[in-house]
């Protein structure tokens, strides 16, 4: 029950924040997506470290999560580097960013799978809440890119 509440709260917060800027063009949305993901990964690292310090996740579980987070972070870095080089969002640019975004999505799905393998329920729920924020960012930005033809 608490797990579901956490998911709903994070999802609502993230979607509300992302969708509040209706004047944003797609490049701005790309910038915001990069920043959202960077901040949420940072939060996820802190939660992971805290769970490890409390002994709620094993060394093997922390290692698996760390590798998963590293992949998401690297994919997000590629997206950010590419996006910040664009001065406007034409169709080829949009397609490039969508492809890079799909990599981020794939690695987040992998990270979610790693989280499901964590034995401790409390640890799994806390990480799931943070990862739900990441999922929500991805979904909102994907919708924005795919729906916002120039």
């Amino acid at each position: 029950m608490r797990f579901r509440s956490n998911h709903i709260v994070i999802l609502l917060l993230t979607l509300s924040l992302l969708l509040s800027g209706c004047r944003d063009d797609q490049l701005r949305k790309a910038a915001r997506a990069s920043d959202d993901i960077a901040q949420i990964i940072s939060a996820a690292i802190e939660v992971k470290r805290s769970l490890a310090q409390q002994g709620l996740i094993s060394k093997e579980e922390e290692l698996r999560l760390t590798i998963g987070m590293q992949k998401v972070n690297q994919a997000a870095k590629l997206f950010n580097e590419q996006a910040k080089g664009f001065k406007s969002m034409d169709e080829p640019s949009r397609q490039t960013l969508l492809a890079l975004f799909s990599n981020i999505t794939r690695y987040i799905e992998d990270l979610n799978q790693s989280n499901l393998l964590i034995k401790n329920q409390q640890a799994r729920d806390r990480l799931a809440a943070i990862l739900a924020g990441l999922d929500a960012s991805i979904q909102a930005i994907n919708l924005a890119f795919q729906g916002g033809q120039q």
Partner: protein
């Protein structure tokens, strides 16, 4: 929005400090240019990378 957050925070007490920080960062995008947002994201992603490398070393994977 502020009222909504205040109402929702008690539902996730374990994550309040982390959530407050994330929300504050995301909210602050409104007063920033695209370049500033990209630059902040870049700095944060670099910092994340360093932290994750530290963790991999601590865990004996490097």
């Amino acid at each position: 929005m502020i009222n909504l957050i205040i109402q929702l925070l008690p539902l996730v007490p374990n994550l309040i400090p982390v959530l407050i920080h994330v929300v504050a960062q995301i909210k602050s995008q409104g007063g920033m240019t695209d370049d500033e947002i990209f630059a902040r994201a870049s700095a944060q992603l670099d910092e994340n990378e360093q932290k994750l490398l530290e963790d991999l070393k601590r865990l004996g994977a490097l």
